[in-house]
């Protein structure tokens, strides 16, 4: 009898795991359970449809439902798993009884942290996650005059930009002191905030959310600095791992709240794997567990989990977390540690900052680009970077992630070769300039 794998969760991790399992076990049976109407779409694209930069939600789907059927992946939509029995090797399915498995992959994703204030039951609170709900909310947005985005997290930055781009009066509230301040440094966030001001965004930092106010439907958001009248609140609180099912079944969780896994994405239970936003993995520099990464991390972890569940042997590596996004009129990004987080952890570091340009100085469309590099004192191996510019951020973040991973030093980077071609690269590479300044500070 063909071995059966059950995957709980139909996001990037779950679908990655199902496809990889099928690749490793072509004759095996794989069943994916998702409580939603769809699987395998890009929720990360939702803010850009709201902002009218992507014309339709249809573009966000990765494959049709028929394509999964043809691949032999049995996706049970709108089907809720209510319990896992790891000893019996079964999952309980709402209204359908128990179903046995040979291998189990838990990919239950994340929830937004509960704002923990009165009024969360009001209509008009939008949690950006499910594409069908996003389609409905997109129609609502046509009627919204004033929106409040709760917390300037990565999703918060994207939603603020999208709503302002759509012409909605947009406020952002956060108890933190600047946009994305748990990740980005203030000098990196400053151009974003300046551009938001130009776009008419009203920022309220250092304020506490106290309540959502209204009668049945939201009318205002109450903060420690007063009430903001609003038709809509977009909840962009921190992503917390959804481990309810696994924890109840006895799977071990770590200090971040995510499932403890090893490099093969094995959990604390034999034959049970986990991946995506519900797990924690080590950061490669500093060796601390981290959780709530990107869709690309979830998908890659799912692949590893699926291959190993199918009898293969694939290892996931510690992460270095290159990141980047468009916020306001700028792109920001980085890798591993910025100045604020390094300071918070007390990691000794030397820093170098430089402002360069993205193309030849005379080429139309040339943009400024600021690079900040952090390195370990003594060896000068890179430990992190942050950048703000208007083009070329993603590529540099990916490159710098490899630089941190492979132990490249500021000295290596200071004298690197670089592409010089007027439309795409300047004579002096901004990363090299920052590294030269770092050497001067070392």
């Amino acid at each position: 009898m063909a071995p059966r794998a059950i995957v709980v969760g139909g996001g990037a991790g779950g679908i990655g795991a199902a496809g990889a399992y099928k690749g490793a076990q072509p004759d095996g049976e794989v069943i994916v359970f998702t409580e939603f109407e769809d699987a395998a779409y890009s929720p990360c694209g939702i803010p850009y449809v709201h902002g009218k930069e992507i014309p339709s939600f249809e573009a966000l789907f990765l494959a049709t439902k028929e394509a999964y059927v043809e691949q032999g992946i049995d996706i049970r939509y709108e089907t809720r798993v209510t319990a896992l029995d790891l000893k019996a090797g079964t999952v309980a399915i709402e209204g359908q009884g128990d179903l046995g498995y040979d291998r189990l992959v838990v990919a239950t994703g994340f929830d937004y942290a509960d704002p923990g204030v009165p009024g969360t039951d009001l209509e008009g609170l939008y949690y950006v996650k499910n594409i069908r709900r996003a389609m409905e909310w997109d129609k609502v947005l046509d009627t919204v005059k004033v929106a409040v985005v709760v917390e300037a997290t990565p999703l918060g930055l994207e939603m603020v930009t999208a709503l302002a781009h759509r012409g909605i009066e947009t406020h952002v509230i956060d108890h933190r002191p600047w946009a994305l301040s748990d990740l980005a440094d203030p000098d990196i966030a400053q151009p974003v905030e300046d551009s938001w001001t130009e776009m008419g965004v009203k920022m309220h930092y250092g304020v506490t959310l106290e309540a959502f106010v209204g009668e049945g439907r939201i009318r205002a958001v109450r903060t420690s600095a007063g009430e903001i009248p609003a038709d809509l609140a977009v909840i962009c609180t921190k992503k917390v791992p959804n481990t309810v099912l696994g924890t109840a079944a006895g799977l071990e969780t770590g200090p971040t709240g995510g499932f403890v896994v090893d490099s093969r994405m094995r959990t604390s239970a034999e034959g049970v794997f986990a991946c995506g936003d519900c797990v924690e993995v080590p950061l490669g520099v500093g060796n601390l567990p981290v959780q709530g990464l990107s869709g690309s991390h979830a998908y890659a972890q799912g692949k590893v989990a699926g291959i190993n569940a199918g009898g293969g042997n694939r290892e996931y590596q510690p992460v270095y977390v290159p990141w980047g996004m468009v916020a306001g009129l700028w792109m920001i990004g980085g890798v591993a540690y910025g100045e604020t987080v390094a300071r918070a952890l007390g990691i000794p570091h030397v820093m170098g900052v430089a402002q360069g340009i993205s193309r030849a100085r005379y080429f139309p469309g040339v943009k400024t680009l600021k690079v900040k590099l952090l390195a370990e004192p003594g060896t000068l191996r890179l430990i992190g970077a942050q950048m703000v510019g208007q083009e070329g951020i993603k590529e540099r973040a990916d490159f710098l992630a490899m630089a941190v991973k492979t132990g490249i030093t500021a000295e290596d980077l200071a004298y690197m070769e670089n592409v010089y071609s007027p439309p795409i690269g300047a004579l002096n590479e901004p990363m090299a300039l920052a590294a030269q300044n770092l050497l001067a500070n070392a």
């Binding site: 600047w178 203030p186 290892e315 100045e339 007390g346």
Partner: protein
């Protein structure tokens, strides 16, 4: 042990970030508005953060690595290929 580790991680991460945000904001002359802190916040900001910062990095790193979690599981470093160009 795990419950304590999670509590410590959540609170230390939160308040050490606040302390760092204040320092870094001051360095750049950037505003750093924060809500008023309760007893727990004052404890972590006025006692925990200065003590943590006063410890040598090697000791802090040892404590951080000693906490339970995924980083204590088996993570095989990828074998380093010979350095330098291929041919």
């Amino acid at each position: 042990m795990m419950r304590f580790a999670r509590w410590l991680r959540q609170n230390s991460e939160h308040y050490l970030l606040i302390a760092a945000q204040r320092d870094v904001a001051a360095r750049y002359g950037h505003p750093c508005p924060r809500p008023r802190e309760g007893f727990k916040g004052r404890f972590f900001l006025n006692l925990f953060a200065p003590v943590y910062r006063g410890l040598p990095w090697r000791f802090r790193a040892f404590v951080l690595h000693s906490m339970p979690g995924s980083h204590r599981q088996s993570w095989t470093p990828r074998a380093r290929r010979p350095l330098g160009p291929a041919v």
